[in-house]
Symmetry: none
């Protein structure tokens, strides 16, 4: 990829371009480079890496957080044409959290290096504004992910409820309707029924007209933790 190609992409994919002085434009181009990541490569882990802004040409990036137990929560994905700002999060002091970013496919991007970008952001309010605007877009992505995850936490709540009820039974069977369970959990019957179907597929319970029979106590307990 030659400089003319890079310039074509920057002018299209970096909106503050039109607000840069000739000097800033020239310096920006000389601080852009082509960068490639193999499928699976970790390009940002929240420690010391601060690559800079990435304009994705092809492939895809995934941002996620990692629990101490190694559980991953995907926050968002970036596709060709998108710009990755959290790979330059060191530049924005308002960003106090860390994310991991991996390439999910072989990925090529244009990198605006972070030291140059930090300066440009100080000098040019349109560049600063663009970085915060991108961060705000990612904020929306994360809120969407959060709501997905919370909805999925229903499995744990149901498992806790069944575990508690199990201790009151003699025959491993909980004689409550889906409607009753939904009421206890402050949920909707369809949500409970769907989750019980999932538990049945996982071999945790069997659901009959009599009630809910716990088949695999160990699996249930693991979910309730």
């Amino acid at each position: 990829m030659n400089n003319e190609n890079i310039k074509n992409i920057i002018t299209k994919s970096f909106p503050p371009w039109v607000y840069l002085s000739d000097d800033e434009q020239a310096k920006l181009l000389s601080n852009c480079s082509l960068i490639s990541f193999n499928n699976g490569a970790n390009l940002h882990n929240g420690d010391e890496q601060c690559l800079g802004m990435l304009i994705i040409l092809n492939g895809s990036l995934r941002a996620y957080i990692l629990s101490e137990q190694g559980r991953e929560i995907t926050l968002y994905r970036l596709k060709p044409g998108d710009t990755c700002v959290l790979s330059a999060s060191c530049i924005l002091s308002e960003i106090t959290f860390d994310v991991h970013i991996d390439a999910e496919e072989d990925t090529q991007a244009i990198l605006i290096n972070s030291a140059f970008f930090a300066n440009l952001r100080e000098q040019n309010i349109y560049v600063a504004n663009y970085a915060y605007q991108l961060a705000t877009e990612r904020f929306s992505d994360v809120m969407w992910a959060l709501q997905q995850v919370l909805f999925m936490k229903m499995d744990q709540r149901l498992a806790i409820f069944l575990w508690d009820e199990l201790s009151k039974t003699t025959d491993q069977t909980i004689h409550l309707s889906h409607e009753q369970i939904a009421k206890y959990l402050g949920s909707a019957r369809e949500v409970v029924s769907r989750m019980l179907k999932y538990f049945a597929q996982e071999g945790i319970v069997s659901v009959t007209r009599k009630g809910i029979t716990i088949i695999d106590k160990k699996k249930l307990q693991a979910l309730a933790l």
Copy 2:
């Protein structure tokens, strides 16, 4: 509160002030008003309300989301001196999610009305930049909350909460229902009750109708670390 008082607050608490023209400054002041919310009032519910920017003078606001099951997840709290941007989220097209915002105490704020703020943001890049910068700060708050909800162990989360509440009491007793605590922690009542029962068995608290009395502060602190 007279206009001179409002001007004093705006010049201190609205950083883009120095980048406004004389005309913009005058118009801003004439579009500010004092607004009061009673403890418990809902001032933003994500539907059609779009009050505008709020500079908090006293009291406190809590932003949260509601899951489909009606569970509340606290995202962040705003205190005197903070500026609430999500009460003007209609102005920022990048914000595609809805939050609820309630007053947690009797709260007074200066309101910059949303129609005027939308115009000012179009005209003045420093104002736009400030709004996105605030949104980015809230993004960090939400990431913190997300990590609490997803990853921190429930016993630790409850211990931290009780420890914080303990400092506000005079009689070592926290006068909150399990339901209220669950709301604050973004958890379910049954989870909180079970954990409190465990804490009681461990001799950390005693649970009565009056509330939760801390018996062993050292043990509680150890859990909260």
